[in-house]
Symmetry: C3
Subunit: 320 residues, 3 copies
């Protein structure tokens, strides 16, 4: 790509491509991931009540991608465990973050400048994970774009995609939320990365691999830093998304209009096929319903609640 | 089998056996499956809120059998994705069923005559799926009848068997319902098919394969058509089932009697080991209890509710 | 090991090591496991309502370890099914325990002396399962201690570790409880066994394999018998555990103190990020929360409930 050569970024991109993730970047990934876990509501108490569940949860945060892609490719799920060094490194990190005397490690790592650096380094590892997944899939299904994207995505955002089951380990169960229903920023950016690297791998994208790695890494790091500093969680793709949404998925009527009429029909049907009963039980165990109904369910409860909930999710997402 | 030869059905059965499912029958399978998904409560709203989750759910409806059997045989779960043509076909169907302008496709496909034809064609694919599963299992575990039945069943009725997790993708969680607890008609007929084809494969059943295919296919298609036209959901095996049940599983006392005494004992025990507490919380989060207790839980609520619920399940089952 | 030779236990340990589990010990394992299932609340009713789900649940109780380790090693999950003899044996046991006329089998097997013998034999099978898992893992990942422990543990305590999903088959869903959050005695003893055998396998433990088998088997059997006779569920490791806990995991402050402050901070944070809302809904669907909060949630409800619940879990644990 001429532009990059003009900017003398060629050797830089080569340098980046030859960068080793182990140990510093991996370490940063472990620290940031486990701190994100610790900041989930209830986890600090869990860490005192059941260290084992806490450790297992941390490992899923650190190696979720490897585990998920292993499941998808029918490779041993325990494989990540066989890499003793990484597991040891992650376990030490887990111990220091949760049980360090005077809570030293967590307090230090929480300082904005340090956390900024660590998060940046974690974002760098994302590029390597996604690329690794794409290449692995390419070696097995060398002409299936979809598989490459799926595995790349799983490797890069596995922790998020299996969050339901990671939470189950901690005794938490939130069926009404999952990354497919409402993608968090990391999941989105990873998906985009998987698509780009898959296209590059199949030569649909006229870019050298190390150039793409440089561009993608810089974008993710800069963007993540921006979000951390401004504290905003607005995705940079919001505009594109809404355009795609409007053009493709608004269907035969505008969203608002449609959902309204849908709701109406649902209520009418309800009288026949039991939606009211589910509605009723909605106030009780929201866990058993569509992501849409809970909102309706809460509409009765004070507005503040809904907001705080959003705040919480946003908050936890940001950390994720 | 003489009877078939007398009826000159031999060449017909050969013709059927050589029929290719791709593309027309597969297409029909995708359309009917995705329409069944769309008719689940809450899905239409979901399709507007999160197209990705909706797409993923549709794929599980279309390729659930392949996914489940892949998991059971430790083969890559992403394998179905690698067949680009099928995935593309299913995705286009998904798009047209959910987002077609003026909702044209769904409205047309819902017309009874057309739907009847499509459903019939879907039933035909069942035979091929079950047989495929049985043969695949036979090639790996060539003398294990159980494995053949399990894989054949999984291939043919996978969508139903993994419904709990398919629902989870959509943010719905109904632990108190699963196909093992209360088999729907498609699951039953598939199980029977799996048993028959497994017996044929191991030569316990003195029938030529193409004859069995003809008989089974005709039976499923005719029976499904009957059920659609009469709108009845009574299984043709009800009589046999109840006989088997009475002879084998009624145990040392009649069902009614037993459950009564069981309930009594439970309540007595309850004082000791917490059944009351679960009973109490039953009104709260029915999701966490035996398939039996919810019924008790609802007994307090207006009768209409219970009925409507049954209506709903029956309704969705019929479509399934 | 001299001591053992002095005690002339060498040939005894050799004899034990050459003992075959099939059929008597396996049979005992099936009987005790399925009786444990039958004693779960609601299962007897389930066995009348849905024999298939009951059978499947029983198989998971009997072969849970094989299934779990198969998943972890990416081996076919149906493999256990392919061993027709074992499945047949387990199925007959299942039938006799649940549906035997006059409930003869269950009543006899429940007699303390007989049950004591059967449970002892089941404990013996544990040694073989754990060792089998460790050896299997050793053959694949011959220098990874962690993998050996994981597989050995999974093989020996699989039924307990997958209990959440085994319950799901029965329509029960208790996300707030799992073996990682609160290990039952069998899970603990199996974990210890896995660690010991893994250390022996990698020669970190200077013991002959058959000696270790003898020691471990005797310990498990004796200890289980003691627990059954005294009816106490106090683990023999309680002291060691609490010491380890105090030294390693109490962190920078005593547990009580910390959780208190944590709770406070949570409540403060709550105002910001929605913990109150989760607290509120806590009384409704406890299933969606940390193992800690439910306790808080129940604190409002009559004391008796909490106790009975503990009683229940303890009770079911003991049987497990």
């Amino acid at each position: 790509m001429d532009l990059l050569e003009v900017l003398h970024l060629d050797e830089l991109s080569h340098g980046l491509a030859n960068l080793s993730m182990f140990p510093y970047f991996d370490m940063a990934h472990y620290i940031v991931s486990i701190m994100a876990l610790r900041e989930q509501p209830g986890v600090l108490q869990l860490s005192r009540v059941s260290p084992l569940a806490c450790w297992f949860s941390s490992m899923l945060f650190c190696f979720g991608g490897a585990v998920l892609s292993a499941i998808m490719l029918a490779e041993p799920v325990v494989a990540p465990l066989s890499n003793s060094t990484s597991v040891l490194l992650a376990s030490i990190t887990w111990y220091l973050v949760f049980y360090c005397p005077v809570d030293l490690v967590y307090c230090c790592a929480s300082l904005l400048p340090l956390r900024l650096v660590l998060t940046g380094m974690k974002e760098v590892t994302r590029t390597w994970k996604v690329l690794g997944g794409v290449i692995q899939a390419h070696s097995k299904y060398n002409d299936s774009l979809l598989v490459m994207i799926a595995i790349g995505w799983a490797k890069g955002a596995g922790g998020g995609l299996i969050s339901n089951f990671e939470q189950l380990v901690r005794g938490v169960w939130k069926p009404e939320t999952n990354e497919l229903l409402k993608m968090s920023y990391p999941t989105k950016i990873t998906l985009i990365g998987a698509v780009l690297f898959a296209l590059q791998q199949t030569h649909y994208l006229p870019l050298k691999k190390h150039h793409l790695m440089l561009i993608y890494t810089v974008f993710t790091v800069v963007n993540k830093a921006r979000m951390m500093l401004t504290g905003s969680s607005v995705s940079p793709f919001a505009a594109i998304e809404s355009t795609i949404y409007k053009t493709l998925f608004s269907g035969h009527s505008s969203y608002a209009a449609l959902t309204d009429e849908v709701e109406k029909t649902c209520m009418d049907k309800g009288a026949v096929n039991g939606t009211p009963s589910t509605k009723k039980s909605n106030e009780k165990g929201a866990g058993k319903h569509t992501p849409v109904s809970p909102v309706k369910g809460q509409s009765g409860s004070p507005k503040a609640k809904g907001e705080s909930e959003n705040a919480e999710t946003k908050h936890s997402k940001k950390k994720n």
